[in-house]
Every structure is written in structure tokens, then in C-alpha cells.
Symmetry: C4
Subunit: 196 residues, 4 copies
């Protein structure tokens, strides 16, 4: 099975997910700043989710690029990832309307955690098919960043019930970790590409 | 006529269908578990429809992959299939809000049955064009799985008016049948690829 | 400028147009046939618009296939066509809710007429660039079907204010004219491909 | 990193943005001209935004076409551009419902300004990577049109609070400037492609 159609289909679904979120930004009733202000939390959660989906698209791009052929298992693992990503607009909307509440904040983390797990499954299925000596296996290494992200999500889910700002800070931290390339990590990767 | 643009267009439509369903998962009014619970049936019907659309995308991929050229009849048969698939979000929404009711449960089966019939028409049109000795004709064989699915849908439509759980079980069974590769069938296919 | 990206972009927009129309089929409030019945006009108008968009996709496919390069004028003429097609979901929704009213029925024809005019402009721009001896110029010939369609739309717009069924019949007639290949016309085309 | 997937993803997002705007054109309640009239401002703002997105697609097409490879920075600069474009449907809806109000008119300009800045960043990142002797650097030159657009947007944002018609006129002027090729500029470009 070729990867090209998997890539095209995933791109299509991710492009739609990243764009339909904006449909949830309802036009304010009034026309002054006071009417616009209540939209701010929705806008902030939209920006955060946009960045997360962008990170997934970027990483997915690189992962599939290192893959020539796929099998049925990988295809379904990929659909499983797209499923969790497709729930991001739903939870973005809920947390955008209720950013101060514990449960929406926690559920945002649950969806991010499940998407991270689903991504890990796709990655593992590709590495299993290619063998541990493959390019992707080398590039991923111990996958510290991926595992740290999952731990952060899990901690954030718990913290959401203590203080939602702590959970929000963790969500921001994980996004920043993927967005801003760490010079030290980059140097370490250069001398030890396997991340050991 | 090339198959590439038919493939790209079908991929686009299927990617949109599978993604816009999530727009129907409206954010709950409250922020506690009690407010989230009523969404559960909608989520379950979303998951089931996501799997069905995923199966169609996967099978469609393989069918078109075994096809070099198409004619006007195949193109319209394919649009006919996309039409029935495009109604899946509508019926998913209805059954998600009324999973206990007979008519929505039955209509879900009607849409699935019509999509299966439409798929059968596309497949037959391609085989007719290619001839019975073609690769696709061999791979499809007697198409027991396809025919069994149609029988299941028809029975489920009737059962929806007796007890909706019976119909739901049949919908799950058909999805599982396509999702989980049957080892015995796979073995039989290996020794007798035509499925006779 | 290459035609491939124009083709891909047009395919994307047309795929979205044909699919988002189904978002307008709102799930009925009740769960019996009486609750489903009011949706029938909306479903019928959806089917008709689905066929029209399908016809445009098909014809657009052939037209662009006969074109190697495009210029800025063709690109904007194509966007102009996509603009009118993008209004089809809007007018489909309106006429689906008010099929018995004159103005929505007439506006449906106006949008179809403008799309036909826009298509004619794209076609003329390509033929002008390629020269009258080109393959597309030969295939289009006098473009009787295209001109007859425009006349039908114009007549239907007027008839909508007399009796909406007459306008509806004309819309159906034009769709059928493009959908069902006329054997006599096909024969005539074979002996005289220019349609003179 | 190849540009092909960046191009495909951007095309997908832009195609969705340009199409979902029409979902905001709600079908009128009544069926006469009086019911249709209130939609006119929404339709006008839709047309203007459609043209703007079309211009961005066209220019983006040319910019990426002059690029072989991209890096992580360009990829994120491109996502940043798509982010601001994704807010166009939101602000189009708001200004369409409140075209006479200062704040929506000004916010429309803010989104356009931010998109123009984001486009400028992508362009600068590509030129920086390619070097000042590259084809794109030559084609862009001093980028007078781009800079004039940004000035117009900034002025329009201020004018929105004086008289919204003046801001609207500036938005129209910028769109026309990109839409209508200026013969004198074209001549100047021919003799001095760097725009100096």
C-alpha cells in the first residue's frame, strides 16, 4: 500500500480540523469592545489548538516522509490518531466557553493525551514494520519529548481539578517544547542522534 | 479518463464527511459530568460512523488502486456512492440524539444499505469494464462479505422496530467484520483467492 | 502557470461545496415519519444540487484536462465560477425550506444561470488562449447544450413567478440533459465532432 | 523538506476558508425581496473576502512555486499566515452583520493587516533562505504593493472610527490594486523587474 494516499487523506482531514474550529468563534451580538471581550477565552483556546494541530501536522509529515509502504495496521492506527484529533474542535469549544471550569480543562488534556498515545501507536507500528535499524527508529530514539508530553498531559488532567491555571500552564509548556527547538537538545541530538 | 482525479476528489469528499460529523457534537451547557453524559450516545454514534467511513475509505482506496481508467458510468456510480456516504453525518446526528427510537435506528441502516448497494454498483461497473479475468474480479470473488453486510443491514432495519439494541448489535457486527481480519477467511483466501 | 494546482484547488472547493450542503439537513425534532416528512423538500433540493455540482465537477475535469497552461485571466475566471458554485448551498437551503415560493425558486435559477455564464467565460478564455483550432474548441463546437441550458435557466426564472413546478421541471430537464447521454447527439458528434 | 506537501496543505486550508464563509449566509426567514435585502451587506462582505482569499491563494501559489525547499521556520511562518486567514470568515460574518459599526470595520482591517504582515514574514523567510540574488527576491523587489497595502490597512483601521465608508473604500482599493494589473506598473516591471 502506498503512503501517498494516506498522506493526502491525513492532510485533508487535518486541514479541515484546523479550519472548522473557527466556525465556533460566533460573531458577537454587540459591536463594541465589551461585546468582543467574552470571545477572548475562545480565541485563546483556538490559538492553542491551532498550534497543537500544526505541531501534529508537522510531525506527521516527517514521520510519514520516512515511510515508503504501510500495512492495514498502520492505516487503522493512523485513522485512530485522526479520530482523537477530530475531537480537538469539540473540546476547544467547550474549554473556550468554560476555561475556568475543571472538567473542560481536564477533558482538553484527555484528548491531547489520547492523541499523543495514538501518535505513539502509529510511530511504533511503523518502526515495528521497518525494524529497529530504520531511519525513523534512529530519529525517534527513546522519544523523550513524546513521553514527557504524555506525562505532562496526565499531570495536567489531575491539576485541572486543583487549579485550572496550572493545567493551562502545562498545556502551554508542551506546545512551546515542540514549537521552540531546544539548542541544548539539538546539540545533544547531533552528538548522539539516538537520544540515549 | 484518469483515476487520479477521481481518487483525489473522493478522498476530499470522504475526508470532509468524516470530519464535519464532529461539528454535531455540541459543547454541553454545564461543566460537570452530568452535563457531559447526555453527549455519550452522540459520541458512540460518531465513533461507529467514523469507523464505517474509515472502512469505506480503505476499501475504496484498494478498489480504485486496482483500476487504471474509468468511464462516465463509473464516475457517476462513484458520485452516487459519495451521495449516500454524505448522508451519514445527517443520520448519525439523528440517531445520536434518539438512539432509543426505532425510526432513526432503522434509517441509519437504510443509509448504510444504500451505501453498500452503491459500492456494489461501482465495483460491478469496474469489473464489467475490465472483464471477469481482471485482478479486481479475482480479489472480490463472490463478494460474500459485501453480500452478508447488505443482508445484515436489511435485517437490522426490520429489527430496529422490534428492539433497537438488536439492530445496533448488527451494525457493530458488520463494522467488526470489516475491521477485524478473519484468520480463517484469510487462509481460505490464500488457497482460493476467488473466494469460491 | 501550471494547471495542476488550479485543478487541485478547484477540486477541493467543489468537494467542500458538495459536502457542506448536507450540514443544512437538520436532524428532525421527533422520531416518527411525521417528523421526517418536512425534510423531504430539503432532501430533494439537496439531491438536485448534488447532481448539478457533480455535473460541474465532471465537465470542469474534462475542460481543464484539455488545458496545459493557464494565465491570470483564466485563474480569476475560474475563481469567479467557484464563487457562483459556492452560493449553491445557500440557495439550496432557502429553496429547500420554501420550495413553494416564487423568489427562492427563481433565485435558484439565477445562481445556476450565473454559474453557467461563469463556466462559459472560463471556457472562452481557455479557447481564446489556445486558438480556435485547439482540441477544446473542437470538442465544445457551437456549445448547443451550454447555450440551451442558459436559455432554460432564464425561462425558469420567469416561470418561477407563474408556477414553481414549471421552473422545477426545467431545472430537472437541464440536469437530465447533462446526466443522460443522448444517443442521437452522441452519433451526430461522432460523424461531426464540431457539433455544427 | 519538500514544498509539495506544504503547498497541498495550504491549498486545502485556503479552499476550506473560502468555502465555509458561505455557511454564514443564513437562509432568510421570509420568501420575498424584503426578507432577502438584509442579507445584502453579508453578501457584499462575502464577495470582498472571497476576492481577498483568492488574491492570497494566487500570490501564495506564485511564491511557493518559486521555492524548492523549505525549513521549519518557513513552515511555521506559513501556518502563522494560515492562522490569520482562518480568522477572515469570523470577521466577515461580524462586519456583514454590522457594516455600519466602527469596531467590526476596524477589526476587518486588523485581520487583513496581520495576514499581510504574516505573508511578508513568509516571503522574507524564503528570500533569506534563498539569498538576495534569488528569483523570488528579484520578482518581489522593494515590494511596493505589499507595503502600500499594509499602510492602507493601518489607515483604514483608524478611518473606521471616523466614517466606515472611508475604511470600506480603502479595503476595496487594495483588493482592486491586486486584482487589476496596472499597465504602467507592468511596463515598469518589464524594464526594471526589481521594482527600483
Amino acid at each position: 500500500m502506498r503512503t501517498s494516499r494516506l498522506e493526502a487523506f491525513s492532510d485533508g482531514v487535518i486541514a479541515i480540523i484546523i479550519t472548522i474550529m473557527v466556525l465556533e468563534l460566533k460573531a458577537p451580538r454587540g459591536t463594541n469592545l465589551a461585546a468582543l471581550m467574552p470571545l477572548l477565552p475562545a480565541l485563546v483556546s483556538y490559538v492553542l489548538s491551532f498550534i497543537y494541530i500544526g505541531i501534529y501536522w508537522n510531525n506527521h509529515h516527517h514521520m510519514i516522509h520516512a515511510t515508503r509502504t504501510i500495512n492495514g495496521g498502520i492505516m487503522w492506527a493512523n485513522l485512530h490518531l485522526l479520530f482523537w484529533l477530530s475531537l480537538v474542535p469539540f473540546v476547544t469549544r467547550w474549554v473556550g466557553e468554560n476555561y475556568h471550569a475543571a472538567l473542560p480543562t481536564a477533558l482538553y488534556g484527555v484528548i491531547l493525551l489520547m492523541a499523543a498515545v495514538a501518535y505513539f501507536i502509529v510511530q511504533s507500528a511503523i518502526i515495528k514494520m521497518q525494524g529497529s535499524g530504520s531511519f525513523l527508529a534512529g530519529a525517534v530514539g527513546r522519544d523523550r519529548k513524546g513521553k514527557l508530553s504524555m506525562v505532562c498531559y496526565a499531570v495536567a488532567i489531575g491539576l485541572a481539578f486543583v487549579n485550572h491555571w496550572l493545567a493551562d500552564a502545562l498545556y502551554l509548556f508542551v506546545a512551546a517544547m515542540w514549537l521552540i527547538p531546544d539548542r541544548r537538545i539539538a546539540r545533544a541530538m547531533e552528538t548522539n542522534p539516538n537520544g540515549d
